[in-house]
């Protein structure tokens, strides 16, 4: 097959991601915030990713869109769920993985994949934002006044782990305020938040059965505190992709499927 460009777009509740492949090889990935118009955010991040990789958008031959915004993305050649895409992307990065834990802004998902990267089972949390990135964002920004990026580093300095019992985002904020008022350190509180997320996701993962090797994907995988808490909760080590931003794994999976689809279409 001659030189060809395909893309995967993952329009999540919080961020829109695009990954561009050239001849099946990773060219570029990009992340923007989703905002109030998911379809447009997806289109924009896709176009800017292609432009950034030095190509004209007319060169794009196949686009697979995933994430909750997939339903309104008219520019998609095909839509696929995040479950399949995260499984596929994670397997590509590290072919020996069996379990993928994707924690995004609104959902957390645990996916079991087989030796060839196919999904064999999965669970998705329901609706409520507890145990997800949004929960951490609101705590960091609204109550603790620390940058999101620092959560992991800060929690590493905790001397003890606070118990945060509220699972609801709003109630947890109230709880944090009273912990601060009682003189608890931010570090201990953040470690407590991470432990509470790990508890939530851990229960879900155990329902499915956690087989090593375990990989974390999604934006929250960049929070080393959550990774650490989840390792403790599950009693197993977790890998986080380092060659590629873990937040891009869903879009990467979508791009890999786009490559498959294009090959099937052109019969190569």
């Amino acid at each position: 097959m001659s030189e060809h460009i395909v893309a995967g777009v993952d329009i999540g509740s919080t961020t829109a991601k695009a990954v561009v492949l050239k001849n099946g090889q990773l060219l570029l990935g990009k992340i923007e915030s989703t905002g109030s118009n998911p379809a447009r955010a997806g289109q924009e991040v896709l176009e800017s990713a292609i432009t950034d990789s030095g190509y004209d958008k007319s060169r794009l031959e196949y686009t697979v869109v995933t994430g909750y915004g997939r339903v309104s993305a008219s520019f998609a050649d095909k839509t696929v769920t995040e479950i399949t895409c995260h499984g596929r992307g994670a397997h590509f990065v590290s072919p020996d993985i069996k379990t993928v834990i994707d924690i995004g802004g609104q959902d957390s998902k645990v996916i079991s994949v087989d030796a060839s990267g196919r999904v064999v089972d999965f669970v998705i949390n329901d609706k409520c934002a507890s145990g997800t990135g949004r929960f951490l964002e609101s705590a960091a920004q609204l109550v603790l006044h620390v940058p999101l990026e620092d959560l992991g580093k800060l929690s590493a300095g905790a001397t003890s782990v606070c118990k945060i019992s509220s699972m609801c985002t709003v109630f947890a904020q109230t709880e944090i305020i009273s912990l601060l008022a009682a003189g608890e350190s931010k570090e201990n509180i953040i470690a407590g938040l991470h432990a509470s997320i790990a508890g939530r996701v851990g229960t879900m993962a155990n329902r499915l059965g956690v087989k090593p090797v375990v990989m974390m994907t999604g934006g929250v995988a960049k929070n080393t505190g959550v990774k650490y808490a989840l390792e403790k909760e599950l009693g197993t080590s977790i890998i986080v992709p380092d060659d590629i931003d873990p937040q891009l794994i869903g879009a990467l999976g979508a791009a890999l499927i786009a490559e498959d689809m294009l090959k099937a279409k052109t019969g190569t």
Binding site: Y68, T81, E82, I83, T84, D126
Partner: protein, 394 residues
């Protein structure tokens, strides 16, 4: 995917259902009483034998009715149970058309439903107690005696309401007619076991639901007509359906609660069998009279106590073996387990179903917890689509 046949066969069906809800109101005007029931533990034969019209009040999927029902039941109780009261307030023609209701005590919310219909809606509301057995063999006599006594009480109340006592011969005639409906309906539900089927489960399911409010004889005539037409189709000439074969089981799928079924269909899934109380179970088992002298009440009790697939009444091993059998008979690739949100009865059973499907059938089970509001459509879509992608990827 499918052949155009069924659309022709089914043309006009929804219109007929609508006409029928109007007929109930008309019947009421004509002084023929209409008696509603919610749960299939209530034998409709008893209502027929008292010369009244039975209708199953199994509508759902309507958020206004759910909200209206919150005047009586708490907001985190099952949306179907809330609707059972709410539809009367939103003036649904079927719910306002009934002269009395029979309510089986199948869960806490339905027990209160029975009392609220009487005390707040001012409608004669007849209870039906059902025993829960834990050892079917050893407690059989007592539970059956108790249930039979409840049926006799109900028959007495129905007879008083209509002024036409329930007699053995009328009961036998009602059983006869209902059995004939069951036989026809069951034939329809058997079709989708074959990959080459002239009718899909979804359409049979709609027909089963249409039967809830149709005149019994007319319903039988419709079924007979359809059965004849389907029988003439050469199955070998049909394109085999290659979509993943799914079974749906769990909470009541009420008439109008199409959300999950629509999502499954749009995602390319093919439901071919069910274990829900509004589906094939009604037709699965006839009422069997034992000999000419056999008591019809005994026969009703035996049929209705032991053959309703509700986890509230049925021992887990029996529930599971039934699900396994259906899955095998219909060559199922995956189970969709539908749990109406806050329906503890069904949600509690899920783990056992999931485990047995995994162990004995090596097939996956997807849990869908849903309300009647459209708010959860996005999440359900993702779950269902991922489940089907997973099966197609195999």
């Amino acid at each position: 995917m499918n052949n155009g046949n069924n659309s022709i066969l089914l043309a006009g069906l929804p219109e007929r259902i609508e006409r029928d809800s109007a007929r109930i109101t008309l019947a009421r005007n004509a002084r023929s009483k209409v008696v509603g029931y919610f749960c299939p533990h209530v034998p409709e034969e008893l209502i027929m034998a008292a010369d009244m019209i039975p209708v199953r009040l199994a509508q759902g999927g309507d958020i206004d009715a759910v909200t209206a029902g919150e005047d009586y039941l708490k907001a985190d109780s099952c949306p179907y149970a809330r609707s059972c009261l709410g539809f009367r307030k939103t003036e649904n023609p079927i719910y306002t058309g009934v002269d009395a209701v029979c309510v089986a005590y199948t869960c806490d919310s339905m027990r209160k439903n029975q009392e609220y219909w009487a005390d707040y809606l001012g409608i004669p509301s007849f209870p039906l107690g059902i025993t829960q057995t834990h050892d079917r063999l050893r407690s059989k006599t007592q539970s059956l005696e108790y249930y039979k006594n409840e049926l006799n009480l109900l028959a007495g109340r129905l007879g008083t309401l209509s002024g036409q006592p329930v007699t053995n011969s009328k009961l036998k005639r009602a059983i006869e007619l209902t059995n004939r409906i069951r036989d026809k309906l069951w034939r329809l539900f058997e079709y989708p076991a074959d990959k080459q089927t002239p009718i899909e489960w979804r359409d049979v399911f709609r027909i089963a639901q249409a039967g809830f409010t149709m005149d019994r004889q007319e319903y039988l005539d419709e079924l007979t007509l359809l059965d004849d037409r389907l029988g003439k189709i050469d199955k070998q000439s049909l394109t085999p359906d290659s979509r993943p074969r799914l079974m749906i089981c769990g909470s009541i799928i009420a008439q109008g609660d199409d959300k999950v079924l629509d999502i499954v269909g749009a995602a390319g899934g093919n439901i071919v069998a069910d274990s829900v109380c509004t589906g094939s179970m009604f037709s699965r088992k006839r009422v069997t009279l034992f000999g000419l002298a056999g008591s019809p009440m005994d026969a009703l009790a035996e049929r209705y106590l032991y053959n309703i697939p509700c986890p509230f009444m049925t021992d887990l091993p029996k529930r599971l073996s039934r699900i396994v059998k259906i899955a095998r008979d219909y060559n199922i690739d995956g189970i969709i387990y539908y749990s109406l949100k806050y329906c503890d009865t069904w949600r509690a059973e899920f783990k056992a179903v999931r485990d047995i499907a995994q162990k004995q059938l090596s097939i996956p089970t997807l849990l869908i917890e849903a309300e009647y509001s459209p708010a959860d459509i996005g999440t359900i879509k993702t779950k269902v689509e991922a489940f089907i992608e997973m099966m197609e990827g195999r």
